[in-house]
């Protein structure tokens, strides 16, 4: 007798794409603002980006209920850290915390695909990319979500450094200027919106640099 399957799933996928690019002294994190379920749109104006610390921002696509729970959990842990250490968490520290938090639920995961972006302790841009259970890596750029298969090859084409074995040693962060990186991201999302039905409506861009954090918006295709 074949095994009986559940006809109810605790998860849903609300779609959307997230991208982050690290620069020499800045970091850009972007995500679209469309939230969908199945073939329907729930809202055109939902932010997938969350500020975790002064110099650390996270964008997550996947199941937004789990994303929200994860964000709240990290915010609470950050408060405790601030009480104990009298300072904000650094981006690499938050990156490790996020990884541990995700793995803690290894056997009932947060359905959340995250990119973490910010400035490290020296003010250099850093991006960390995750899977749903906490495996993470520091990279120069990354994308997650429904449009990631369309976006990633293009980012590789534009930003990928030649082999790490090559001399002289190349930095993971892009040599692009801040304005050029933002332009690249706008291009990338415009392209993804063409073919990915779950990406569109509006693009939210967050830029972190020495001056602080600022937000930008751009309209995307609404179909």
């Amino acid at each position: 007798m074949p095994k009986e399957q559940a006809n109810w799933s605790p998860y849903d996928n609300n779609g959307g794409s997230c991208v982050a690019v690290a620069g020499a002294d800045y970091c850009v994190i972007a995500a679209d603002t469309r939230m969908s379920t199945g073939y329907n749109i729930l809202t055109r104006d939902y932010s997938k980006i969350c500020k975790l610390a002064d110099k650390c921002v996270m964008a997550s696509s996947g199941f937004q209920a789990d994303v929200k729970a994860l964000q709240k959990h990290l915010a609470a842990r950050h408060l405790i850290y601030q009480h104990q250490h009298n300072k904000q968490m650094s981006c690499p520290a938050m990156a490790q915390l996020l990884s541990n938090t995700l793995y803690y639920k290894r056997f009932f995961p947060y359905y959340s695909f995250n990119v973490l972006g910010g400035l490290d302790n020296e003010g250099k841009g850093c991006v960390f990319t995750y899977d749903a259970v906490g495996s993470y890596e520091k990279v120069g750029y990354s994308c997650q979500g429904s449009g990631s298969t369309l976006i990633m090859p293009f980012l590789d084409n534009q930003l990928k450094s030649p082999s790490p074995l090559l001399l002289p040693a190349q930095d993971a962060v892009t040599p692009l200027a801040e304005a050029e990186a933002i332009d690249l991201i706008k291009t990338v999302f415009a392209s993804a919106s063409e073919r990915d039905i779950y990406t569109g409506d509006k693009l939210e861009i967050v830029v972190i640099n020495a001056d602080g954090i600022r937000r930008e918006y751009m309209d995307l295709r609404k179909d």
């Binding site: 709240k72 609470a76 408060l79 405790i80 009480h83």
Partner: protein, 277 residues
């Protein structure tokens, strides 16, 4: 002599109906260095005297931020105070997480009081040896509470605890009617003056005291030494005239402290039980 017979356990009553262990815990509060609090309609100010054990050591932290809208100043066993602050911080974080809104101060002090009460009714525990001045802001306005080791708590317009706090209390009693509508800066000034009373002649400078403020539009934070010193310098000249006038009052006998709850006089011998109201 009665005291010695019934004071071994916190779970032993004396024939007069008192728990001596709890009263001894309140003595510990009186031995700690002074902490004061005062509030207006929109702000609450906490201040404390920081005395290092020796010139080589740093002073103990006596004011803790609990949340953006709540802070606490302690007197007594600072270790107990630290642990209770951690408890308060956790409660605030958990409440915020569940209800997405700040924990009302009145709720927090009740939880704190209940926690203290537990230690007065377990044979394997001892009462917390620390008094807490909880300053906070919530929807119903600005609040200042005092939490006892006995598990009692009271709301105050202004209060002082710790050693030589009577001097500060006398000053506050004289001035408390003006606090309600005072400006934030005036409130801080009054706090510094109250601290000065407890120093009994010693010069008031920012290195011996700590001041913290919470108010409408102003999250709880400790004022930095530079700002405090500036405020001290600003009123020092004016205050010098007021200083000598305050001294004689400091020796006045016990009276009720600032409204609304009357404060019990220090138990000298077999007087009214300190936690009785």
């Amino acid at each position: 002599m009665f005291r010695n017979q019934y004071d071994t356990d916190v779970t032993t009553w004396s024939p007069a109906g008192r728990l001596f262990q709890v009263e001894y815990a309140m003595e510990a509060v009186k031995q700690g260095s002074a902490a004061i609090g005062l509030r207006s309609k929109t702000h609450v100010v906490l201040g404390c005297v920081n005395k290092a054990n020796s010139e080589l050591s740093s002073h103990q932290k006596k004011i803790f931020k609990v949340d953006d809208h709540i802070g606490v100043a302690i007197a007594g066993l600072t270790a107990d105070g630290r642990v209770l602050s951690r408890y308060m911080r956790n409660e605030c974080i958990n409440y915020s997480f569940t209800y997405e809104s700040p924990l009302p101060v009145g709720r927090l002090v009740v939880q704190l009081a209940d926690k203290a009460q537990v230690c007065t009714q377990r044979s394997w525990k001892r009462p917390y040896g620390v008094g807490l001045l909880v300053a906070g802001l919530d929807e119903s306005g600005a609040h200042l509470y005092y939490n006892c080791p006995s598990g009692n708590y009271f709301e105050y317009q202004a209060f002082a605890i710790g050693s030589r706090s009577q001097a500060a209390k006398t000053y506050l009693e004289r001035r408390f009617e003006s606090f309600r509508d005072a400006s934030r800066d005036d409130l801080v000034k009054d706090a510094l003056m109250a601290i000065r009373e407890t120093l009994q002649g010693e010069t008031l400078k920012s290195s011996v005291c700590t001041v913290a403020v919470v108010g409408v539009g102003e999250p709880f934070h400790i004022l930095d030494q530079g700002t405090v010193q500036q405020m001290i310098d600003a009123f020092e000249i004016v205050a010098e005239q007021e200083g000598p006038a305050a001294e004689p009052d400091a020796d006045a006998g016990q009276e009720a402290s600032a409204e609304p709850e009357p404060e019990q006089g220090a138990a000298a011998g077999e007087g009214v039980a300190p936690m009785d109201i």
